[in-house]
């Protein structure tokens, strides 16, 4: 196979994978800015979304015609997946994180407990065997296969949905009253509160948006690979790598970081062509090492602002 074709194929995979990561990383970054801690339960929030979508798509089944390789019934299922993830996250914030008085490191440790509860409940209900959505298996799109690209209509659906969601969030943050309040709260909570912004309500909505996006991302992850109780936790470090690469707290940084980390993970198999014997099994390891390198050289990330140590 010509090298260019191979590269194109991996790049295409990387774009799909990046689209999934970005849905996780934006939420992680938002929650970090507003709630003030690195949420280790974010990966498992994605798992929650994936399994909620699984139940919902079972209910709506093959409803309606097929669009982009997915039955129309999958769309409401996806929506439900996002909503369930958002609901679970808001309840968790209300009853677990909010009453705590343990500082950002204590919240971080607590979020690990939350992650294990999510995963345990899912594993208790669905077992640990991998599952798949009841959607028809897809063949690569013929016209693209002709030039060597193996992209299924579902891949296109994932990328399109991610683009729509990210664009929507961009509009929300930049052009609405809520967006301005949210950015103000992220920047300086005390000042925002003093200016009459209801920071508590902002915090709730941040969880809704962040966890909702994560839930949809988790559903897509289940479509891209398959579902398992550990799927979200396994992706968590990749999502962290993306967030840190772009600069923690920066949405646009998270976008950039997801693109880079997603591509890197999918392009690692190509390295062996160019003489670097790093197998696909180390793809994630390469992403982690990039993350550590970024932390060393530019701890604020590519797009992030300098955060003084005392601020967290």
């Amino acid at each position: 196979m010509p090298a260019l074709e191979l590269v194109l194929r991996h790049v295409a995979n990387g774009i799909v994978y990046s689209s999934i990561i970005v849905l996780g990383s934006i939420g992680l970054s938002l929650i970090y800015s507003i709630a003030g801690f690195a949420n280790f339960a974010h990966g498992d929030t994605m798992t929650v979304g994936a399994y909620a979508t699984l139940i919902a798509s079972g209910a709506f089944g093959g409803l309606g015609v097929t669009v982009l390789g997915l039955p129309l019934g999958f769309l409401p299922a996806l929506l439900i997946g996002g909503l369930v993830a958002a609901g679970v996250a808001v309840l968790t914030d209300r009853f677990v994180y909010e009453p705590l008085d343990v500082g950002s490191l204590g919240l971080l440790i607590t979020s690990i407990g939350v992650a294990y509860v999510y995963r345990g409940v899912i594993q208790a209900r669905f077992g640990s065997d991998p599952r798949q959505y009841a959607v028809p298996a897809q063949q690569p799109i013929d016209t693209l296969a002709a030039i060597g690209l193996q992209i299924t209509p579902q891949d296109v659906a994932i990328v399109l949905s991610a683009v729509i969601l990210v664009t929507g969030l961009h509009v929300l943050l930049q052009y609405t009253d809520f967006g301005r309040k949210m950015r103000a709260t992220a920047d300086n909570p005390e000042l925002a509160r003093a200016s009459g912004i209801r920071t508590k309500a902002i915090r709730r909505r941040t969880w809704v948006i962040g966890a909702g996006l994560a839930g949809v991302g988790g559903a897509f992850l289940g479509l891209f690979n398959q579902l398992g109780p550990r799927m979200g936790f396994s992706l968590l470090l990749i999502v962290f790598a993306a967030v840190i690469f772009g600069g923690i707290g920066s949405i646009y940084g998270a976008l950039l970081g997801s693109a880079v980390i997603g591509l890197v993970v999918q392009l690692v198999p190509l390295l062996s062509i160019y003489g670097l014997p790093i197998g696909i099994e180390y793809a994630e390891a390469v992403a982690f090492l990039i993350m550590v390198a970024v932390l060393l050289v530019r701890p604020q990330g590519i797009a992030g602002e300098v955060i003084e140590e005392g601020e967290i």
């Binding site: 801690f37 690195a38 677990v96 009453p99 705590l100 343990v102 950002s104 490191l105 204590g106 971080l108 440790i109 607590t110 690990i112 407990g113 939350v114 992650a115 294990y116 509860v117 999510y118 995963r119 345990g120 409940v121 899912i122 594993q123 208790a124 077992g127 640990s128 109780p229 936790f233 470090l237 962290f240 790598a241 840190i244 197998g279 099994e281 180390y282 994630e284 390891a285 982690f288 090492l289 993350m291 550590v292 932390l295 060393l296 701890p299 140590e309 967290i312």
Partner: protein, 378 residues
């Protein structure tokens, strides 16, 4: 002053929480002994579990040096545990792809050496980072270690794991042959037959070995914690800028604490390899790390007694969830039940008792200082 008076004085010194907990531990130990002697509980398996508890206690004490003393959020406990276990297993196991058959004492040195080197390698880039970045980076690097163990099967036997690991004291003069030479004692208790045979004596020697490892670690840690070095670490945990302003090279102190803690974790790993006689990449799963975190938070960050206590509680949770799940007392499988219990325990502790059950009380004070001070009310 008689023994009773000394005990009475000791009891009076304890805080309310310590008294409650001491009573609970005493009752539990007594209950287990009765169950063992009446044949309800298999004594050999009981000693094995005791060994496992001590292993978790070692890991917890290692993490305690890092988190409890110096405030380092290390999420790579499983990696150092695994390096200790694999370090000794690769040299001593029959199925080892690289060496095998070497005496376990060499394995012990190899396990500790390996962990020490990797601790420096991981510490150099990560210990300068902010606390939450350290958490993320150390979890990532621990995953890299796990991937290497899993995938480089020409060195580590990959997912098959290493079996045929000898007992730690195999081949030692006298001690090595002791379990086989000791008589088998059998009697029938109310709950079933009780047997103290060769496997029991083997496990008993394992427990003695464990007590040796624990004793040595506790001795070193007590000395270190009360020394000027320990005081600097506590200052770093409370306020790193203050420590720097006092002219302390905080990075160097953090590195020393990180390496010391990792060595103790590796010691736990070495003990585990010679207890279980089998190691596999599954032992390096991040969940091991978070078991140990639960033990440290439960016991009380900074407290070695707490770490000791927490280690045994972890085994109680593991076995309890297995019992509840398998016996269908609750309609949940053992594995997810364990995850839920661990998760809930973290959440509830952080909510209601973030200082843990046995927070450090007098551990930071030289005993002579306590003896010389005036009497104090209960």
């Amino acid at each position: 002053m008689g023994v009773a008076d000394t005990l009475q004085a000791y009891w009076n010194e304890l805080t309310e929480a310590e008294r409650t907990l001491s009573t609970a531990v005493g009752v539990t130990v007594l209950g287990l002994l009765v169950l063992m002697l009446t044949g309800v509980l298999d004594p050999t398996y009981f000693l094995f579990l005791f060994g496992l508890g001590g292993m978790y206690a070692l890991l917890s004490m290692g993490l305690n040096v890092q988190w409890g003393y110096a405030g380092l959020i290390n999420f790579s406990v499983a990696a150092f545990f695994g390096l200790g276990a694999y370090g000794t297993a690769l040299l001593t196991a029959q199925s080892s792809p690289i060496a095998g058959g070497l005496p376990p004492l060499i394995g012990l040195l190899a396990g500790l050496g390996l962990a020490g080197v990797v601790a420096v390698l991981i510490g150099v880039p990560t210990l300068r980072l902010r606390a939450d970045y350290l958490a993320i980076a150390s979890l990532g690097l621990a995953e890299v270690v796990r991937m290497i163990v899993l995938n480089e099967s020409q060195w580590t036997a990959g997912s098959q794991g290493l079996y045929g690991i000898p007992l730690f004291y195999d081949g030692w003069p006298i001690v090595g042959g002791l379990p086989g030479a000791l008589p088998t004692i059998q009697f029938v208790g109310p709950g079933g037959p009780v047997t103290f045979g060769t496997p029991f004596w083997q496990e008993l020697l394992n427990v003695l070995l464990l007590l040796g490892f624990l004793g040595a670690s506790i001795f070193v840690l007590r000395r270190a914690h009360r020394s000027p070095w320990g005081r600097v670490l506590r200052t770093i945990r409370a306020d790193e800028h203050l420590a720097e302003a006092l002219g302390k090279h905080t990075y160097r102190f953090k590195m020393q604490a990180f390496v010391l803690g990792s060595l103790i974790m590796a010691l736990g790993g070495v003990y585990f390899a010679h207890l279980q006689l089998f190691v596999s990449p599954g032992n390096l799963d991040p969940v091991t790390t978070f078991y140990v975190w639960v033990a440290v938070i439960l016991g009380g960050s900074g407290s070695n007694r707490g770490a000791l206590f927490g280690g045994f509680v972890i085994v109680a949770i593991r076995e309890g969830s297995r019992f509840l799940g398998d016996a269908s007392v609750v309609p949940i499988d053992a594995a997810p039940l364990r995850l839920i219990i661990i998760g809930l325990l973290i959440i509830l502790l952080m909510r209601f008792r973030p200082q843990g059950l046995l927070p450090p009380q007098r551990e930071l004070i030289w005993p002579s200082v306590i003896d010389n001070r005036g009497d104090r009310d209960g």
